[in-house]
């Protein structure tokens, strides 16, 4: 289980410091889908990067992040490196942030295995091919380059890359933004299927509350660096308690009713 307790993150710029996370606590269990819903600037992307220790050098981080009983923030860089990708992996926002344009899809999916699991090239390539099948991409895409794939296909490839070392937890940063609506739905279904089949914990960050409600077990609403409300999806939608959640739900319901 991922257990975040009182996480605080402050960015230090040249002129001023910004507190991006102000004491966030959240749990994600294996086999569970938790969505963090927030508008731009709420700190939701910061949360993901803090979990993976990918924040810029010099950022102050305090609090605890337990990954199966080990406080990830206390580990040395070397020790955490072993966990990254193998226990917890990231599907970044925008597939071109995960895929480099100069390598084939197949070798990119194989790379984490070679680096983190010490597999040899042939074995890694073989597993990469099976991963491509798992994300519903044709196996011959292995030799293609990212620019030859559509946006939705690239997103699937990025997911395959994240799954390379069989992580227990998957973090997804706005996995469906910039994708067509129908492709979005397909990616969501894919993620749900993977969560079920692999018993992974999925922490998904998005600004799209309807999307989150259709796919998560629990939703945490973030506003201005803090979680203002958290609960079971349908309950949160039906009876929101915090005024921010209420405003959000009302605005969205207007769209569906108004004509």
């Amino acid at each position: 289980m991922i257990s975040i307790k009182g996480l605080r993150v402050t960015y230090h710029g040249e002129r001023r410091s910004v507190e991006a996370l102000r004491g966030v606590s959240l749990d994600v269990r294996q086999g569970e889908v938790v969505s963090v819903v927030g508008e731009s600037g709420s700190g939701k992307s910061t949360l993901l990067f803090a979990l993976l220790r990918l924040l810029p050098y010099g950022t102050s981080v305090s609090g605890q992040v337990f990954l199966d009983d080990k406080d990830v923030l206390e580990l040395s860089d070397e020790e955490f490196r072993k966990l990254r990708w193998c226990k917890i992996a990231l599907v970044p926002q925008g597939s071109m942030n995960a895929l480099t344009p100069v390598m084939t899809i197949g070798s990119q999916i194989a790379e984490p295995m070679e680096v983190h699991l010490d597999l040899d090239k042939i074995e890694a390539k073989r597993i990469a091919a099976s991963l491509l099948e798992e994300v519903e991409l044709p196996v011959h895409f292995s030799s293609r380059y990212p620019h030859q794939l559509s946006g939705g296909q690239r997103q699937r490839a990025a997911i395959a890359m994240a799954l390379a070392c069989n992580p227990n937890y998957l973090l997804a940063d706005e996995p469906t933004t910039a994708l067509d609506v129908i492709v979005q739905a397909e990616i969501v279904k894919l993620l749900l299927r993977l969560v079920r089949e692999r018993n992974m914990g999925l922490l998904l960050v998005t600004h799209d509350l309807p999307l989150a409600s259709g796919l998560s077990d629990r939703i945490a609403v973030m506003h201005d660096g803090a979680i203002v409300e958290e609960g079971e999806s349908l309950e949160l939608i039906e009876s929101p308690r915090h005024r921010h959640t209420k405003a959000l739900v009302t605005a969205l319901k207007k769209l569906e009713v108004e004509s």
Partner: protein
């Protein structure tokens, strides 16, 4: 502003202030010889004799001094005196530890003008020396007390006599082959180097901006012509051409700046052109044109401001090039001889034997000056590049 923390900005400010007001602190004109040639700076030749200036006036008809050095290199006595009534006896006497001698006899003359220099043959003959002999050891035979005085039967109505014995050391940087104060020349050199460097670069940048914008925005024939010109100018070896042009058009300062500019606008033009090309296709430009905005408006209000940050860094980085080119041309003797520039100083040092006589104080200061100025601008330019190039900038909070 981080710019204020940069040493080069303060160095440049200091240099500009010195260049502007420094020369006014010197009492003599820079062309004037203040000491014998190739004289060492004071801090280098502590045992060499300093300059000596004595004035005989009505109240002081005698001057005494102590001389503890080797004989100096020069001796000159200039002035005038007038008597109410022609005196019986009027002599200017020079007293040495080994005896006295008469330098000038003005007896029976009401008014006399005196202009004696130890190098004059008549002076040497008057002292009883051969025309080719060095008179200095005769005038300064030993260390000890010396005096210069007027011995006359009556006191004169007016007298003003100046004795100049230039020493073998002078000033902060000694003298050059004409006896001019090198430090004074050095300060003047900052002016010329800054002036030439900055103006040549400004003109080159303005040319590059104009050509780059036109080329990128209008395209077609204009672009083709300008770009071919750029190609030709870039492939031509600049120094030989500049030498030829300087020889043809004369060596004035203005011509020099023009020549330097003509060969430095190309890279700016290219950079501005590529920026213009990409912006030209931007949707907002399309929108403005559709609304009826004329090209001049788009160039002036949108493309030009976008190009300016690029230029600032280009200017700072272009100045060292101009300074070095000017120094190079001056060193080869292709600049105005009346113009004091560091390159010119190096040229004269080379041409007039400073290298062989070991007068390193003539060579190192201008050399370091050129290098220092270039470093200042390179540092400034690099810093400006960092600030202004969005790719190099880190995300600022």
């Amino acid at each position: 502003m981080r710019l204020l923390h940069r040493w080069s900005l303060w160095a440049l400010a200091l240099g500009a202030i010195i260049a502007a007001i420094g020369p006014y602190f010197f009492k003599t004109s820079p062309e004037e010889a203040v000491a014998p040639p190739f004289v060492k700076p004071v801090w280098l030749a502590k045992d060499a004799p300093p300059s000596l200036h004595l004035t005989i006036t009505e109240g002081h008809l005698e001057r005494r001094f102590l001389w503890e050095y080797e004989p100096p290199l020069r001796f000159s006595l200039k002035g005038a005196m007038r008597f109410e009534v022609p005196p019986e006896v009027a002599q200017i006497v020079w007293q040495t530890p080994k005896g006295t001698m008469v330098l000038y006899d003005a007896s029976k003359k009401a008014e006399s003008r005196i202009d004696l220099d130890a190098r004059d043959v008549s002076f040497k003959l008057a002292l009883g020396l051969s025309p080719f002999q060095n008179p200095m050891p005769h005038l300064f035979p030993a260390t000890g007390e010396y005096a210069l005085r007027l011995e006359s039967s009556e006191p004169p109505a007016e007298i003003s006599l100046a004795l100049q014995v230039p020493g073998s050391r002078w000033g902060l940087l000694g003298t050059d082959q004409r006896g001019r104060d090198v430090f004074h020349l050095f300060i003047l050199g900052i002016r010329v180097s800054l002036l030439v460097g900055l103006s040549a670069t400004f003109i080159a940048t303005a040319l590059g901006l104009a050509f780059g914008l036109s080329s990128g925005y209008f395209g077609g024939v204009i672009d083709a012509v300008i770009m071919r010109a750029v190609d030709v100018l870039l492939s031509v070896p600049t120094l030989p051409i500049m030498i030829v042009l300087a020889g043809l058009w004369g060596k004035g300062l203005f011509n020099l700046i023009l020549i330097l500019s003509a060969f430095s606008w190309m890279s700016t033009a290219r950079t501005v052109r590529s920026m213009t090309l990409s912006l030209r296709e931007a949707p907002f430009v399309e929108g403005l044109r559709a609304l009826g905005a004329p090209s001049s408006y788009i160039l002036w209000r949108h493309l030009l401001p976008e190009a300016l940050p690029l230029l600032l860094a280009n200017i700072a980085l272009g100045v060292p090039g101009a300074v070095l080119a000017e120094a190079g041309l001056s060193f080869l003797g292709l600049s105005d001889p009346r113009l004091v520039s560091w390159g010119r100083m190096l040229h004269e040092a080379h041409a007039f034997g400073a290298f062989t006589s070991g007068a390193w104080w003539l060579i190192l200061p201008p050399g370091f000056g050129i290098a220092g100025l270039c470093l200042v601008f390179l540092d400034l330019g690099r810093h400006l590049e960092e600030i202004l190039d969005p790719r190099l900038r880190r995300k600022a909070l």
